[in-house]
């Protein structure tokens, strides 16, 4: 109860209450995330259960159109899978990959930033040079490259099974620089403060000082970066899957669904690509709005 009261009293809650856009964005994000999390129970059909799919149901338009079918709210694709169900399962995969990639980048980037800022010297110079070089390439290019290499190194038959991990790694590795730069900057400020010196004087090991003393004090901005990065990671995943080098059609994310649906645009079955696209856009927009709000709310200078 005490924690709840404190939360209700905080500045963040206050600015949250005062911003209707943020409340809507949070609600939309929550709805999409929860339905993705509980996809097997929320989705009206199981698109991966071959027994429940009937080719007779193929290419039915959404329910409000003349040939619509009440069982399929948003229509069906060419194999008779309900679009709504594939979207819910697809957003589960998209969000899963997005979160995993963000966590990967976060650990990698924060770790390197902490070491770079605290140790300094040559280690710092090397890490930051690598970061500079990487930053001059767009993330999508790097992710594509990692994916291509993985295809070359892994045997063909295992590639599809491992596609999701390759994807998480390639998106994660292309996003660590932002975290590292931010954490490095604040670490360099923190390490000269008295509490760190005190910890050093009483003889705590360097690694403990870094993790227990410095780390909690540099994590604030990391949260904001992570939120905005989540939106970016979801877009990158969707783009890679759309380009056909991400997830295979057997495990469709939102991007894969759009890629598959694109072929049907020309035959008039627009709903196969458009609805997953709309969900993707709404999800990314909502997460971006949340990130923007969080950045402003946590930055006392802007108040």
């Amino acid at each position: 109860m005490d924690l709840l009261a404190r939360a209700r009293d905080s500045d963040i809650w206050y600015s949250f209450k005062r911003s209707p856009v943020t409340i809507v964005a949070a609600a939309v994000t929550a709805v999409i995330m929860l339905s993705a999390l509980f996809a097997p129970w929320v989705a009206p059909h199981n698109p991966f259960d071959l027994a429940s799919i009937d080719l007779m149901d193929a290419s039915i338009p959404p329910v409000w159109m003349a040939e619509g079918d009440a069982r399929f709210l948003l229509g069906t694709d060419d194999q008779g899978r309900g679009i709504l169900s594939t979207i819910i399962h697809g957003s589960r995969i998209s969000l899963g990959v997005g979160f995993a990639a963000v966590v990967f980048s976060l650990f990698f980037g924060v770790g390197l930033g902490l070491v770079s800022g605290y140790v300094g010297g040559r280690t710092d110079a090397v890490i930051m040079r690598v970061a500079d070089i990487q930053l001059s390439f767009p993330a999508i290019l790097l992710a594509l490259l990692v994916d291509g290499v993985a295809r070359g190194v892994l045997p063909r038959d295992t590639h599809d099974e491992l596609a999701i991990y390759v994807l998480i790694f390639s998106i994660g590795i292309s996003g660590w620089v932002q975290y590292a730069r931010t954490v490095r900057g604040s670490t360099m400020v923190e390490k000269n403060k008295e509490y760190v010196q005190a910890a050093r004087v009483i003889g705590r090991p360097t690694i403990i000082i870094m993790l227990r003393h410095v780390l909690p004090n540099v994590m604030g901005p990391v949260l904001v970066i992570a939120t905005i990065h989540l939106a970016l990671a979801i877009i990158t995943e969707a783009t890679l899957s759309f380009l056909g080098v991400g997830l295979p059609p057997t495990e469709p994310s939102l991007g894969t669904l759009i890629n598959v649906g694109q072929d049907f645009l020309f035959s008039g079955e627009w709903w196969i690509a458009l609805f997953p696209g709309a969900v993707l856009a709404i999800l990314v927009l909502a997460v971006n709005l949340l990130g923007d709000w969080l950045r402003d709310a946590l930055n006392p200078k802007l108040r």
Binding site: S136, I140, G152, F242, I258, Q262, F266, L280, A281, L289
Partner: protein, 329 residues
């Protein structure tokens, strides 16, 4: 000045050598180059022979150096899939990508800057608010989705524009251009808008915030006090001073436009380098991947270098040494 240029040049060379190292490692260690070049019925002896002639038995350092020298000459070896020199493949596809990218940047500039100026001058206007909201949506919509929406609207429903390819192209020497035929120009409309949209929103927001900043300064107030017309103040004084960062950012973005062209080219089946790269990734055609990587890196490095040097020439404050971190301003 001289020391600055030398330092920046050395940095650029270092970056290129690093990228070449990555490209070389890709080429040499991902899969066996020999297996990728010859069929299964080649005898072991022939393989050894080929290994020797290609110099794959030399030390890695020697091989790396040879790779750097070859790359600098534009020799990227043979594609594993198409059995053709990568160089000719790149040269064939380059005009398509460059035309698309350059037209997009021009579009982004000529629409983005006026929109930015407008939203800054009419901050609370209805239209300005609409521009700002639309730009937020523009940032959130992935490139490929914008392309698909355009195809659906103008290609499938209205049937105004072609949805794939470059249309008719005219060859000018080794350069093929779609700018001289009607079908080529029509084919260019949707891809270039798709590619330009993100840059456009970026430029619009940048111009807006820079303008707002400049409009608050004393020399603008003074210009108004002197009784100059709004037009002279807004465009002669304010806009002029916002354009330096805009040009810098646009220059730096040119590289990412070329990279983002990968997505646009795939959506519209535009026969450029980006599509070639995607195909290479899907087929594990390492020499093509490595060549594309080196080429994009070269674009980035050269653009960065030019922008840095221009900045140095334009802004005298930078001539006071700020230490080694010259950076991107």
């Amino acid at each position: 000045m001289f020391a600055f240029i030398i330092r920046r040049l050395l940095q650029s060379v270092l970056v290129m050598l690093t990228v070449a190292l990555i490209a070389f490692a890709l080429f040499r260690f991902v899969g066996d180059p020999i297996n990728n070049l010859v069929g299964q019925d080649t005898t072991l002896q022939d393989r050894q022979q080929l290994r020797e002639t290609l110099g794959l038995n030399d030390s890695v350092v020697v091989q790396y150096w040879r790779y750097v020298v070859n790359t600098a000459r534009g020799d990227f070896g043979f594609s594993y899939i198409h059995r053709r020199p990568v160089k000719t493949m790149l040269l064939e596809k380059m005009p398509a990508t460059l035309e698309l990218s350059i037209i997009s940047v021009i579009l982004a500039l000529f629409i983005g800057v006026p929109m930015g100026v407008y939203t800054a001058l009419r901050r609370d206007g209805f239209l300005a608010k609409i521009f700002m909201s639309v730009s937020l949506i523009g940032i959130s919509l992935p490139t490929f989705l914008i392309g698909i929406l355009l195809i659906l609207l103008f290609g499938v429903i209205l049937r105004w524009l072609p949805t794939f390819g470059r249309g008719e192209v005219v060859a000018l020497g080794s350069w093929t251009t779609g700018l001289l035929t009607v079908s080529g120009l029509k084919a260019l409309i949707m891809p270039s808008i798709t590619l330009a949209l993100f840059q456009m929103t970026l430029i619009m927001r940048l111009v807006r915030s820079e303008m707002l900043e400049v409009l608050r300064t004393d020399y603008i107030k003074f210009a108004r006090a002197r009784g100059l017309s709004n037009r002279a103040v807004n465009f002669g004084h304010a806009l002029k001073n916002t354009l330096v960062p805009v040009i810098t950012i646009t220059g730096l973005q040119l590289g990412s436009v070329i990279a983002f062209a990968i997505i646009t080219e795939q959506v519209f089946q535009w026969p450029g380098m980006g599509r070639m790269f995607i195909e290479a990734v899907a087929d594990v055609d390492i020499p093509v991947m490595a060549a594309y990587l080196c080429l994009i890196a070269l674009f980035f490095v050269v653009i960065n270098l030019i922008v840095d040097l221009l900045y140095y020439a334009v802004d005298p404050r930078l001539r006071v040494d700020r230490g080694a971190g010259g950076g991107h301003g």
